[in-house]
Every structure is written in C-alpha cells, then in structure tokens.
C-alpha cells in the first residue's frame, strides 16, 4: 500500500506540471500515452519532488519511469535512507 503522503505529493506536483485536474489522475496510466509527458516534464516533476521530499533519485531510475505509480514507488524507496539517517539507524 502506497504511503498517502507520497501519493498526495506526486498528485499535486504532477497536476501542476501538466496543468491537469488532480482528481482525474490515473496512477497506472502510461505517462507519455495518457498525458503526453515529455522528457522535460519528467525532469521538472522529479526535481520538484526531490526538493520537496529531500530525496535524490538516480538518473537511470528517472529514465525508467512509466507511470505515476512508479514515481510514488521511487519516492518511497529513496526516502528510506534519509529516515534511517534521521533516526540514527543508518
């Protein structure tokens, strides 16, 4: 089950980047086919998420993104080390 915090952040950022209604987004749809996402849109989306969530997503992972669900999964995956560091468990 995806963390609602990341789902909300991705929904808001993506709707802003693509100028879409946030309530109409399908997290399983292919970004390029369903929303006409370009490589530039993708870079902006990831950059904004990285700054907002204080994470860093490696370049190869960005290129492999197909859906908004993938974006949420990446945000979750790369936020873990930061949380561990914050709690002294890293």
């Amino acid at each position: 089950m995806a963390d609602p915090k990341y789902v909300a952040e991705v929904r808001n950022r993506f709707s802003e980047v693509m100028q879409l209604d946030p309530d109409t987004l399908d997290f399983d749809a292919r970004l390029d086919d369903a929303y006409g996402v370009t490589s530039v849109n993708r870079m902006r989306l990831v950059s904004e998420l990285e700054i907002a969530l204080e994470i860093e997503i490696p370049e190869p992972e960005i290129n492999a993104i197909c859906t908004l669900g993938d974006v949420v999964a990446l945000c979750e995956r790369y936020s873990i080390p930061t949380l561990q560091a914050a709690s002294g468990r890293a």
């Binding site: 802003e16 980047v17 693509m18 100028q19 370009t38 490589s39 530039v40 849109n41 870079m43 902006r44 990831v46 950059s47 904004e48 990285e50 700054i51 907002a52 490696p58 370049e59």
Partner: protein
C-alpha cells in the same frame, strides 16, 4: 522612498564534470574552456586555454537600478545560502546542456525564497519542448531591457559596461600560477545578427535582427576607462559581425586610431561579406588584432560568405598581423564523405591562427531545425548532447558516427599539417610587426613593436619543445623560420629567456608524464560572486545568511 529591489542572477550550479553530478556527462566541464575545447583543440602540451567569464549576467546587473548579486558557477549549497537572503527576483541563465539543473534551481527558489519571482533566460529558453517550465517569467532575447522593464526602470536609460576580465595561457600552465598570462576584458557592442544564417542560434535567439547595445564613441571611452584602471589593452568584443557596423566602428575605432597615448587592440567576430567592404590596413590602425570568421564550407551557401575569395582575405589578414579563427561545419546538405577532404584542405590552406571543426547543429529555435524536422531528419537526442560534435541529424550521404569521427579527424589532421596554435599566432604577429616596422604611420609602428613583443613572449615556449610537435617536417621548418624572424628582431634569446625555455620544457615533461600516469582531474570553476547597487559595483564576498 522605496527600497531597491533585491535581485539574484545566477548561472546553473557546479560541478560540471560528471563525476559528482547526475546532471552532466563526461567532459562537460571542458566546454567552459573555449580555447582548449574548441579553437585550440590539439593533442599534446601546446593546447591553449581561456575560460569565458560570463558577460550576460554582469551586463544585466550593471545596468539595473537595483541591488543585484551575481553568482557564477555556485554550488547548490552556495545558491541556497543566497536564496535565504530573500531576493525579490531570482534570474537563472542556462544553456540547453544545463537544462537538468534548471528545475532543481527553480524548485529551491520556491522553497527557500517563496516570495521571489523566478526568471529564466539564456539560449536554453530556445528549447522546443520547454513548455510549462515553472518559472514566473521567461527572458528570451536582450536581458537588460527585459529586467529594466520588469522592475519599472526605463529600458532606454544609458548603458554601462561592467568589468569582465579573462586571460589566455597554455592549458598546462594553469597548474603554475606564477607563469604570465595574457589578460583581456570583454565588452558588448550589440546583440543578434541580420545575416539570418539558418543554423545560427544567436540570430534566432534575438529574432534575426541586430540590437545595438553600446555603439559609437562611448565604446572607446569604456576601453580607455578599463585600460587606465587595469592596464589591460586587449578587448574581446561581443557582436556577431562587428565590421558590419561601419558608422559605429569608424567612431570608436577612429578614436583608437587617433589616440597617441594608448595602443588598444580588439578581437571580434566578423564575416567575409563585411570585411570585404573595408580597407584592412585601416582596421589595423583602429586596433583590429584578431577576427573569427565562420568559413563553414569551401562552398558556403550562406549570404555572409559572399565577397572576397577566402584565400585572398585570410592571406591579407595574416600579412597585416591580424590573427584569425576559422571554423568549418560538417554535415551540410551539399557535403559528402569525399568532399570533407576538400573542406579540410581548404581550411589548412587558409592557415587560420586558430581552428574549429564541428558538426552542423540544428539548435532549438533555428530555421534549420524547423526545416530538418519537417524533412523528418532529426534523431532523438538527450538535452545534454547539445555540443559541437554529437550527431543529431540524419544525412543521406553519411553513416551514423561518420560525421562525429570527421570532426576529430579534422582537428588531428589540421594539427598534424599546421602545427600548434601558439606558433601560428606568433608567426602572424611577426608578419604584422615586419609589415609595419617602417610604416610612415606612427600608430602602426607602435603596433608593429607590440606585435613583435607578443611573438617574443611565445619564444620560450617554442625554443626547447620540438619533441612535442607533430612529426611533420614542414611544421618544424615553419617554427624554425618564425624563431629566426624573432631572433632577427630582438637578437638571440637572453639568458632569462633561455632559462624560461628550459622551465617550459620541464613543465611539458612533467605534465605529459603526469597525464600518462594520473589522468587529469576535471578543472571546476570557483564561485564568482559580485554585487552591484544601482549600477555601481560594490566590494563584496560571499557570506552565507545567518
């Protein structure tokens, strides 16, 4: 009284090497050194080096009635620290290659300076699919008027030229700060170009028109001011075809010619077309010392290339002591793999003092890109492949990879046949020295002596380093002849020059040995940090906000 607007203008962030950044690819940092990466791209230790200082942001800063901070090459931490000082505007300039860095910088501005309006500018704004970029304003074109309008200042206010200084040396000398460097100042005469060459990014960026910035006598006054304060007498002038603007050039160049106290020199970009309309000796008397001419092709289809025969023009320029940059492009419609040999032969025959080869680049926003897109000839490319040799065009006569290989073949072959840039410069300087040594014109005689002294400064670099030259006998002969001419003028090398020559030899030995064992680490630029308040530069240093 209202407070001055606080403005932060910045380039994209360093590092530029790929090693510590996901935003770069290998070798990106080398583009910052335009001599080493472009016009003196040579194997071996003679390769020359010059880092452009980034005139655009300082030009805007010096011309605003505001409190403006300029950051060149900040780290992300330095950029964030500056954002925390809460500027009213954040201006970010970027090239297409820097696109990946733009978005985190906008996002950081939103986070750390939430009230700031974000402006993006520079050639990167030409990107065809930039779309909804997330900034508040997009500045495409001339930035001074744009920012003046943005802050409510009259865009027609008089303009100022900031001090933008740079230097030239050999690349391997940069590790030895005690070695002398030739200093220059950068000045802006105007923007854009009316020749409308279909491939030209600059022409397209400024809407295919010329926008004068500081024409006429004021240009000379600025040179004098900088010269008298800094001792610099060499000026690198920004204008796409400077010699096209005869009225202006006659005003400021005439003042240089008539100046009995100072001998000022300038470097410019120009064209066969506009140079054809000048008496070249008159241009020498006005200070022309170096001109970059886009040759493009032996069969150049561009209107800027109409006029004098290339060979006659380059021969005349060199005979007058004017050094040249000649650039050619591979991948034009009329070219074939076979004709590239003719292109290179032509370039070698012109013997430009510095040389550039590149692939034809259909930059975003140009008519060329529009045409090739309509013809279905563009290959998919990553934004960071925006450079001078990555192929992004399908050409029916070339296999993939062939044009890229040709660019590097041309550099190597040109070097093998023509030798190092530093020698060609010295040779052409000696031409001018000898030509005007006994001129009845006192100003030209002064220039002759200064050109000879420039050539003499190169002598220690060439005296003991022949083992590092290409093995071509003609190159060795040419250098021997130039050294002979310097000897004829100044006599045998002094003991100090002999000592310098041995030092250069040892530096070459050391640097080449070092490169063989330890590949050279990327050279990253330091932060450049300057501040202007209402057009007056104030002393400052970077301090992070408390």
């Amino acid at each position: 009284m209202s407070e001055k607007k606080k403005i932060l203008l910045t380039s994209v962030f360093r590092p530029y090497a790929s090693k510590n950044s996901k935003y770069n690819k290998d070798g990106d940092e080398e583009w910052l050194d335009y001599m080493a990466s472009r016009i003196s791209r040579e194997p071996g230790p003679f390769v020359m080096s010059s880092y452009m200082s980034g005139t655009a942001l300082t030009l805007i800063a010096a011309n605003l009635d505001a409190d403006v901070t300029v950051m060149g090459h900040p780290s992300l931490d330095e950029y964030i620290a500056e954002l925390k000082k809460q500027p009213d505007f954040v201006g970010i300039t970027f090239l297409i290659k820097g696109l990946g860095k733009l978005f985190p910088m906008i996002a950081l501005a939103r986070k750390h300076a939430p009230k700031a309006k974000v402006v993006i500018g520079g050639f990167g704004t030409m990107l065809h699919n930039l779309g909804n970029h997330g900034a508040d304003f997009l500045c495409r074109g001339e930035g001074v008027s744009f920012f003046r309008t943005l802050i409510g200042q009259n865009p027609q206010d008089p303009v100022r030229q900031p001090d933008v200084l740079g230097d030239v040396t050999l690349k391997c000398f940069r590790n030895y700060p005690f070695l002398p460097r030739a200093r220059y100042a950068e000045l802006t005469h105007g923007f854009g170009c009316p020749h409308k060459c279909e491939f030209c990014t600059t022409s397209a960026y400024f809407g295919y028109v010329h926008i004068p910035f500081a024409p006429g006598r004021q240009f000379y006054d600025t040179m004098v001011d900088i010269h008298d304060r800094t001792g610099i007498s060499y000026f690198y002038l920004y204008e796409e075809d400077l010699c096209l603007y005869k009225k202006s050039l006659n005003e400021w160049g005439g003042a240089i010619r008539d100046d009995k106290e100072r001998t000022l020199f300038w470097h410019c970009f120009s064209t066969v077309k506009s140079l054809t309309s000048w008496d070249l000796e008159e241009l020498v008397s006005m200070g022309l010392t170096h001109v970059w001419i886009g040759i493009e092709s032996v069969h150049s289809p561009f209107s800027k290339s109409v006029g004098r025969d290339n060979q006659a023009l380059f021969d005349d320029l060199h005979s007058l002591g004017i050094t040249t940059s000649g650039s050619i492009m591979f991948g034009q419609d009329h070219q074939t793999p076979e004709s590239l040999h003719d292109e290179l032969d032509h370039a070698v025959s012109l013997y430009p003092s510095t040389f550039q080869s590149s692939v034809l680049i259909p930059s975003d926003g140009t008519k060329l890109r529009e045409r090739l897109e309509a013809e279905g000839r563009l290959r998919p490319a990553n934004y960071w492949d925006s450079d001078l040799y990555t192929e992004v065009v399908n050409h029916p006569a070339f296999k993939p990879g062939q044009l890229r290989d040709a660019v590097f073949w041309a550099y190597d072959e040109f070097y093998r046949r023509s030798g190092p840039t530093i020698h060609r410069l010295a040779k052409h300087w000696m031409n001018g020295a000898e030509r005007f040594k006994n001129s009845p014109n006192e100003g030209l005689r002064r220039r002759a002596q200064l050109l000879a002294e420039r050539a003499r400064a190169v002598r220690p670099i060439l005296l003991r380093t022949s083992e590092y030259l290409p093995p071509t006998p003609e190159v060795h002969e040419m250098i021997g002849e130039t050294l002979g001419r310097i000897r004829d003028w100044f006599g045998a090398p002094t003991s100090a020059e002999e000592a310098q020559a041995w030092l250069v030899k040892r530096i070459f030995d050391l640097e080449m040995a070092k490169n063989a064992v330890y590949p050279r680490e990327p050279i990253e630029p330091d932060l450049k940090y300057r501040r202007w308040i209402s057009g007056r530069e104030v002393p400052t240093r970077f301090v992070a906000a408390a």
